[in-house]
Symmetry: C2
C-alpha cells in the first residue's frame, strides 16, 4: 500500500487557521497539513519563537526544528494589535473550518477570538484551544511549557520511580503528545460537524492529558486503594532497558508463554521455561526482577548480530538499538519514504508522514515557509472575495 | 466549559470492531470510545494479554492497566479458528464503521480480514492496521513490541545522547504515541468518508511514526549535512532537568527575552539579562550550557515554595515536580474530573478523558469489561438482524 503523490489526503478541503507557536500547536497542524488540510500559520511580528529557538538555520529564522514541524503550511505575519491585521484574521476565520491556538483563554477573549465571539461569524468553525490546565480548575491560566507539564503531570515522577531522580523525557514529550491529541480532537469535531452541521469549541488541556497518560500506565496496584504500590513493575524495573551485548545493545520482548519458552531456548536455558517462577505471564510478572536479571546476564555473552539470528530462529521478537547515525541510514526509513532528502533546497534531510491511506493519498510535501511568505497571496485572495 | 454527562460525544454513532490487544490498539479505541464511539473489543480465547500482564487485579484477568485502557468498551470472546465465531466477526464487521487491528498484514490476509476482502462486504469500512514496520520495506512483518520500537526508532538513542546510555522512556511510549496517531488517522478517514461516501484502508506503522517523532526533534544541525551535529542542545543538555531546590524539585521555563529577564531578576542577578551570552534567544541557545548552569546553581538556594512565589512575581513560568502521590491528590486533576473514584466498584481510582467539547459532550464512563461480558448481548443483536 503506497501513498499516491499529489493526491489530496483525507483532510483535503479543510482550512485551518493556526495561531499557535513553538511545538504543541504546530505538531497538531503538521499532522493535519500532511493529511491535506490547508494550514495558514498566522505569526506575530518576528515570527514563531521556534524559528530561532529550534537551532541554527542555513538562513535566519529557519531553525531545523522549525522546518521539521512546519512543512505544508503557509505563513502570514499579522500584528493583532493593529486594526487592519486584526480584520484580516477575522476574515480568514470566517472562511475557515478550524482555528487552533495555544493562547490562554483570557488572552483570546481580549482579542475577541473566543468561541462565543467567533461562532456568531462562523457557526461551522471548530475552535480548538490548547490550554496548559483545564479551565475551571485551580491552576487555570497558569503558564505552561513542555518541561513544566512534564514535571507537573508525572513524566518526571516516572523517571524518579525508575532511576531515583526526576528527569525529563529527552524530547518535547508533553507538547508532542498533546499536539497529537489536539489533532485527533479537532478531526473528531470535524466528523461531528459532518453530521450536525455545526462547529464547536474544543479545549485540550496539556496537564490533564499528560497526567492521564502517566496515570493509565502507573496507577498500578494503587488503583485499588492505599495499600497498593504505584507503578508498572515491568517498566520501572532497573533492568527494563536495552540489554548490553558483546558489541552493542539489543531490545528483546518475550511476553507470551511461547515467546518466553523461545527465549529460554535461545539462551541455552530451556529448563527455565518450566521453572515455577517463569512458567506463566502472571508468574513472570510476579518474579519480574529475576526474569529480567536472567535476560540481562545471558545477553552479554554474544554479539548483537548473533543474538538477532538466534532470536529470529526461536521466534522471539528482538531488534538492535539504533543510534541517531543508524537512523538516518536505516533502509526501512528510506524505503518507506519517512526520511528523505528535501527536493529544492538540498542537501537537507526531511521527515515525512508515515501513515498510508489506500484512497486518500497524502499531498506532496512543501518546505516550511519563510515568515510571511504567503502574506501577499493570502491578502490578495481575501480582497478578491471582497474581504 | 464543562463536558455534559450522558451526552453522546463527537464520535457518537460510530461503531468500531477492535481486534487489537495490549496497548497500541487499545489506546486508539480508548480515545474513540471516550468520544462516544461504540467499541466492540473482540478478544481471543483467554482474552487480551494485558488482562494479566498489566498487574494484579482484584479479580482475575482484570489487571489495573487493562482497566485503565479499556473503559467504555464491550467485550466478546471469539475463537477465529472456529467457523461460527468467524461468521460472527464478519457479521459484526458488515455493520461497523471501523475495524482496528494490530495483527501482521499476512495474518489478517489468512483470516480473510484484509481490506480487499472486507471492502466487498462493507465499502464504507475504515480498515486500520497498526503495523510494526510499514509494508513494502525490508523490515515488513518483523514482530514489534513497544520496547523494540523504542530501541529501533531512536527513543533509546535520545537517552543515550542525553545521559550516556540507551534507556527506554519509563512508560509504553511507542504504543501510546502510535495509538494516538492511529485514532487520529481513523478519525480523518471517517471525515473523508463523510465527503466521499467511501471507506478505505489505513496503515499506521509504529517504527516509522516513532522515528519521525524522534527525528523532528533531534535531526538538529545534521539536517543540513554531514558536518552538523544531531540533537537539540536545549533538550539533551545534562542540566535540562527538574532543578533541585532546598527541599524538592522545580521546573522553570524562561525562553523569551522577557521571561529570561524576569528569571535573572528573580534569582537576584538582573545584570545577567544584559550579558552578551544571555541577551537574546539565539545567544542563550548558543550558550545553553552556561545558561542552564546559572539556573541550576541559583535554584538550589531556596525552597520550592519560595521559588514558586518569586517566579510568579516575575512572570516566569515555573511549577513544582509532582511525584505519583502528589498527582493523585492534585486539586486540578480532581477539579477537572481527570482523576475520579470509580462509581460501582469503589474504592478504585479511575482516569477520564481530559478534553472538553462545547456541543458534543462525552459519554458517562463505563467500567472496563470482563472477558466476553457482552458476548451474549452482541450475539443476540446479530440474530435479531438475521445475521
Amino acid at each position: 500500500m503506497n501513498n499516491k503523490a499529489s493526491t489530496p489526503g483525507p483532510l483535503a478541503g479543510v482550512r485551518v487557521i493556526d495561531l499557535s507557536g513553538v511545538v504543541v500547536g504546530p505538531v497538531a497542524t503538521l499532522l493535519m497539513g500532511e493529511q491535506g488540510a490547508e494550514i495558514i500559520k498566522v505569526e506575530p511580528p518576528g515570527g514563531d519563537l521556534m524559528r530561532k529557538l529550534g537551532g541554527r538555520g542555513i538562513e535566519p529564522a529557519m531553525a531545523p526544528k522549525f522546518l521539521h514541524l512546519n512543512r505544508n503550511k503557509k505563513s502570514i505575519q499579522l500584528d493583532l494589535k493593529k486594526a487592519d491585521d486584526k480584520a484580516i484574521l477575522l476574515n480568514l476565520i470566517e472562511g475557515a473550518d478550524v482555528l487552533v491556538s495555544n493562547m490562554r483563554p483570557r488572552a483570546l477573549d481580549k482579542l475577541g477570538l473566543s468561541w462565543s465571539d467567533l461562532s456568531l461569524r462562523n457557526p461551522r468553525l471548530v475552535h480548538c484551544t490548547i490550554t496548559g490546565f483545564a479551565t475551571g480548575g485551580p491552576y487555570e491560566g497558569t503558564p505552561a511549557y513542555d518541561t513544566i507539564i512534564q514535571g507537573a503531570a508525572g513524566v518526571a515522577a516516572c523517571t524518579n520511580a525508575a532511576h531515583g531522580e526526576p528527569l525529563f523525557a529527552p524530547f518535547v514529550l508533553a507538547d508532542h503528545v498533546v499536539g497529537l491529541i489536539a489533532a485527533q480532537a479537532v478531526t473528531a469535531a470535524l466528523f461531528a460537524r459532518s453530521i450536525s452541521g455545526r462547529g464547536q469549541a474544543v479545549e485540550v488541556p496539556m496537564f490533564e492529558n499528560m497526567a492521564a497518560f502517566v496515570l493509565c500506565e502507573h496507577l498500578g496496584q494503587r488503583t485499588f486503594g492505599e495499600g497498593g504500590a504505584f507503578g508498572d513493575p515491568r517498566i520501572l524495573n532497573p533492568d527494563a532497558r536495552p540489554l548490553k551485548t558483546q558489541d552493542g545493545y539489543i531490545c528483546v520482548s518475550a511476553n507470551t508463554d511461547v515467546q518466553a519458552r523461545g527465549f529460554f531456548s535461545a539462551i541455552g536455558r530451556p529448563e527455565l521455561a518450566d521453572d515455577a517462577r517463569f512458567i506463566s505471564v502472571e508468574a513472570r510478572l510476579e518474579n519480574v526482577n529475576a526474569y529480567f536479571e536472567v535476560r540481562a546476564q545471558a545477553v552479554q555473552r554474544r554479539t548483537t548480530s548473533e543474538w538477532l539470528a538466534l532470536f529470529a530462529a526461536h521466534d522471539v521478537p528482538a531488534m538492535q538499538v539504533n543510534l541517531f547515525e543508524d537512523l538516518i541510514a536505516d533502509p526501512q526509513l528510506i524505503a518507506s519514504g519517512t526520511l528523505v532528502t528535501e527536493p529544492g533546497r538540498a542537501p537537507m534531510l526531511g521527515v515525512r508522514h508515515a501513515n498510508r491511506y489506500s484512497h486518500s493519498g497524502v499531498p506532496d510535501a512543501v518546505f516550511a515557509p519563510r515568515l510571511d511568505q504567503h502574506g501577499e497571496e493570502i491578502r490578495a485572495a481575501l480582497k478578491g472575495k471582497g474581504g
